[in-house]
């Protein structure tokens, strides 16, 4: 495609400006984190004496190791279960096409646009009633449930596209429905399952509202939930708050840079299909 030099130049300039605007906030909290603790940094330049020790202090006061453990636990508890059961349900709806599957699909689609804020109050009282409040499962169980509309919808799109002949052939060979699912269809669905897994892992790691309301102890929350509590405690100590934020961002950023292709693709597809 031919474009003029002027267009090329202005276009690239516009993009560059946008990239700088996107990155500046990150750079700004990084430099602010290096100012002496408990001071109010002025300006946004490199500090005269960078206080790398702030990161050590933030690591300790934010209880980073425990947090990493707790966040990882929540992700590892939510994602595999949600993947398995949503794929099973989507298999029933999109491939087995059991009677009533239209109704099932509608029921799940109903939850697609549901804001978490809409049901957070009853969730709190429900968990108190069930004895789940502030336990390790307090965030895990509702999150699995809240992902079902999107996950079932997403996996159904895959199963609708898979030719039923594969199932027919396997049935003639005497495969049970479970074999059909586990041995044949589940492996065939690897790609959409992987994308869905990435999506749900990112959403879980970043989940704030559920962690804030349903878990009292910040060290048992998700990363985002703990960050909220950390901000509450250290709002006045700007350098320490920034150091903590940087630390909490590091795992996300590392994972994003490593898997950026997959993550971007998954998030975009997720939006288009959902």
């Amino acid at each position: 495609m031919k474009i003029s030099r002027l267009e090329l130049l202005t276009g690239r300039l516009l993009l560059l400006v946008l990239m700088v605007v996107t990155l500046l906030p990150f750079i700004s909290i990084f430099t602010t984190a290096l100012y002496p603790s408990n001071t109010v940094p002025s300006g946004f330049g490199w500090p005269a004496e960078p206080q790398w020790v702030n990161f050590v202090e933030a690591f300790q006061v934010a209880n980073m190791l425990v947090l990493l453990g707790s966040s990882s636990f929540i992700v590892l508890a939510v994602v595999p279960v949600a993947l398995l059961i949503s794929t099973m349900a989507a298999f029933a709806i999109g491939q087995l096409r059991v009677p009533g599957s239209r109704f099932l699909l509608l029921l799940f689609v109903f939850g697609l646009t549901l804001p978490f804020g809409g049901i957070i109050v009853p969730l709190y009282y429900l968990e108190r009633f069930l004895g789940l409040y502030s336990t390790r499962l307090a965030v895990v169980l509702p999150l699995i449930a809240l992902y079902m509309p999107f996950a079932v919808f997403w996996m159904r799109a895959h199963f609708v596209g898979v030719s039923p002949e594969i199932s027919e052939a396997a049935k003639v060979d005497g495969a049970s429905t479970w074999d059909l699912f586990w041995r044949i269809h589940f492996p065939l669905a690897k790609a959409p399952i992987a994308s869905l897994g990435i999506l749900m892992a990112v959403w879980t790691w970043n989940q704030f509202l559920l962690a804030l309301v349903l878990v009292e102890d910040p060290s048992q929350r998700t990363m985002a939930g703990a960050l909220g509590a950390f901000q509450g405690h250290y709002a006045t100590n700007v350098p320490l708050l920034c150091a903590g934020t940087v630390l909490i961002l590091i795992p996300t950023l590392v994972i994003f840079v490593l898997f950026q292709r997959q993550i971007i693709a998954a998030l975009l597809q997720g939006a288009v299909k959902g």
Partner: protein
Amino acid sequence: MKQRSFLLAPRPEANSRRPIRRELVVGWLFALPALAFYALFVLVPFLMSLEYSFFRWDGIGVMKWVGLKNYLTVFEVPVLFESIINAFKLVLFFSLIPVGLGLVVASVMHKVAAGTFGSVARTILFLPQVIPLVAAGIIWGWILAMPGLLNETLRATGLESWARAWLGDFDWALPAVGMIGIWVLLGFCTVLLATAIAKIDPSLFESARIDGSNWLQEFLSITVPLLRQEIGVCLTVTIIAALAAFDIVYVSTGGGPGNATAVPGIQIYILAFTEQRIGPASALAVLLMVLVLLVILPIQRLTREERS
């Protein structure tokens, strides 16, 4: 289960139907775990929200039926009604600006950002989308603070009279929160739309060029109409983000100053968990869910049908 379906169908003529019955049972068994989770932690709480919205309740004592009074409260108490207005004001920042600007940037990106430059731009612009919104709120809370990055920049460029505590200013707090939303969502919209533009048949652009169209004509006559569906997607995602906003607001302003940035999510939280007024909190929650549906459904309809 197998045995039960057997017992239920002892008559001979039912024999032919047995395999179907079995399939039905097995099929529903596959859907059962997902359905059970969804029912217990989404559908039941949804119904409870509806129920609570008709009662006066402090979370501990006896629930008292009050009919539609809680809904009237939401409309009559200015603070609550304004939270809904604020949510719609946020739509401008979270949705209309990122989608509009994203369209322009995406079409520019398509032209000038091939190869490495393009993929680096993609990665960087997408970055705010993967970090927790809470972190975005904290980062911007500092940037927009009195001695923060923005005010320092204003001072350095001689615009000192503009410097202010943006998030603590009654007039500017909401646009400032909106600004955070733009930062988070612009990259997402841009990358999504750019991916879609890349799929448009290049010969369309070629022939437009030969006909002597400039960038703007091309943009309006090819890019925008062909991206109708993706624009719909961006609008849907971002409008939900605006109406259901919580994380960014909670962290950056907590709804203040006064109630200048209070959105429904914040008011639900305050009503339920600090004021123990479950009734009005639930009425607002129900209204929020209805509002999201009312706004999203027409967009879905408009942008999906045209293509097929």
